[in-house]
């Protein structure tokens, strides 16, 4: 499975597996870890990262691995960046959000404005699979992720949600 993912060169750089004491260097390092986690899971289409099962923390080829504390540091940074979401408080399973909900929220609202959906209604299904959404960033998006994005819009007063017959028929009214 891992053969289909091409590991970036920094993955063979031993210091990558030591959390750097120098702040600026650590910033760079955390960025590289975020990039790696995101691209690995996206390219292999893995939706959930299970912390104790994740093969990324150890590189046998160079004999280096992140210790459990360091894994926590990397994971906390990843979740904080908005690209990951803990399934629960045990912090063992992390949902990968390849698009940040904030970005999707903005994209959805821009699309709604451009396509005359202000003061009009569409369903959750139409949002990820409708004809009007061809080429949009939220086309084919995971329903969970969409709902996160819509919740953000709701919070901003830019839309309101209401129940339909099934979850995918739940409606959204944009303002």
């Amino acid at each position: 499975m891992s053969d289909s993912f091409k590991f970036p060169e920094f993955y063979s750089f031993p210091p990558f597996f030591t959390i750097q004491p120098n702040l600026a260097t650590r910033e760079k390092q955390m960025g590289l870890w975020r990039e790696l986690i995101l691209s690995y899971h996206t390219s292999l289409k893995i939706k959930t990262l299970i912390v104790h099962d994740c093969p990324l923390w150890k590189n046998d080829q160079i004999g280096r691995e992140l210790n459990p504390d360091d894994v926590k540091t990397v994971m906390n940074d990843f979740v904080k960046s908005g690209h990951g979401e803990w399934e629960d408080d045990t912090k063992t399973r992390c949902r990968i959000l390849w698009r940040k909900p904030e970005q999707l929220a903005a994209d959805i609202y821009t699309w709604a404005e451009a396509n005359g959906y202000i003061n009009s209604v569409c369903t959750v299904y139409e949002l990820h699979s409708g004809e009007d959404v061809n080429g949009m960033s939220f086309e084919g998006a995971d329903e969970q992720l969409l709902r996160r994005a819509l919740a953000i819009l709701e919070q901003k007063g830019k839309c309101t949600m209401f129940k339909g017959d099934s979850s995918s028929e739940d409606g959204i009214k944009f303002f």
């Binding site: 060169e9 920094f10 750089f13 031993p14 210091p15 597996f17 030591t18 750097q20 004491p21 120098n22 600026a24 260097t25 910033e27 760079k28 390092q29 590289l32 004999g63 280096r64």
Partner: protein, 251 residues
């Protein structure tokens, strides 16, 4: 030699106010020497301009030839890179080196967070190659050499940009940060380069013979500048330098 009394001797001359004659003669000789020196330089410049006119195509296409040409210009105080309107503008070297300098600076900035602001010219070249960046000199797409990059950095340096080159072992590196690297720092980086990987503080003292304080001081700076990364493995601390790790290392 016996002092002559009377008419000869500086003292006598001074007395007689004839120093002015000598001063005048000395000035005359100076002027003539200067005149003939300037004449020589002028002749050389004429020869150089004829050369440039005759060989401008090769100068544009061949980096090695171009390098030789520039080394002929330097001692004559001729700067074909000048952007002011001059005879030399027909070579368009100013534009070429300006373009090159901009692109080299871009690469250095892009990679600064990874290597701390020190990068080998070779690595810059391979990045530009991978990006497919091309440069034109006198309407012709040209190859550019490490020497060309050194000239371009020289231009940047003139503009007070903080860019400069530093030699680590046999490798030319570009420094794009104001950090002052002294010989100690360069030696440590060179050690890492020779080792082909991470080095410990002990290995530095073993190989160069410095006391621990001195090693630590040098390494601390390199770490704080982001030029060195730390690797904790089996109870030991190794220091790795992205700028010299692997020829084609790209982070």
């Amino acid at each position: 030699m016996a002092h002559r009394r009377g008419r000869a001797g500086i003292g006598a001359l001074k007395k007689k106010g004839e120093t002015s004659k000598f001063t005048k003669k000395a000035e005359e000789i100076k002027t003539t020497s200067l005149k003939s020196a300037m004449e020589t330089v002028k002749q050389l410049e004429i020869k150089l301009t004829k050369f440039a006119k005759a060989h401008h195509k090769t100068i544009a296409k061949d980096p090695a030839f171009r390098h030789k040409f520039l080394s002929m210009c330097a001692p004559l105080g001729v700067d074909p890179l000048t952007t002011k309107k001059s005879f030399w503008s027909f070579l368009q070297m100013g534009d070429f080196y300006h373009e090159l300098a901009v692109k080299v600076a871009e690469v250095c900035f892009a990679y600064r967070s990874r290597n701390g602001g020190i990068m080998s010219i070779k690595e810059v070249q391979s990045v530009l190659l991978r990006r497919g960046t091309k440069f034109r000199l006198n309407e012709v797409v040209t190859n550019y050499s490490a020497d060309d990059i050194v000239v371009a950095i020289g231009k940047l340096k003139q503009l007070g940009s903080g860019f400069r080159t530093v030699k680590v072992g046999g490798t030319q590196m570009i420094l794009s940060v104001p950090t002052e690297l002294d010989n100690d720092h360069v030696q440590v980086i060179q050690l890492a380069q020779n080792a082909g990987g991470g080095i410990t503080l002990n290995s530095v003292s073993d190989m160069i013979g410095w006391e621990d304080d001195r090693v630590k001081r040098a390494m601390d700076l390199l770490l704080s500048e982001g030029m060195a990364w730390i690797d904790r493995y089996e109870g030991l601390e190794y220091y790795w330098f992205p700028s010299v790790w692997k020829d084609s290392f790209v982070m």
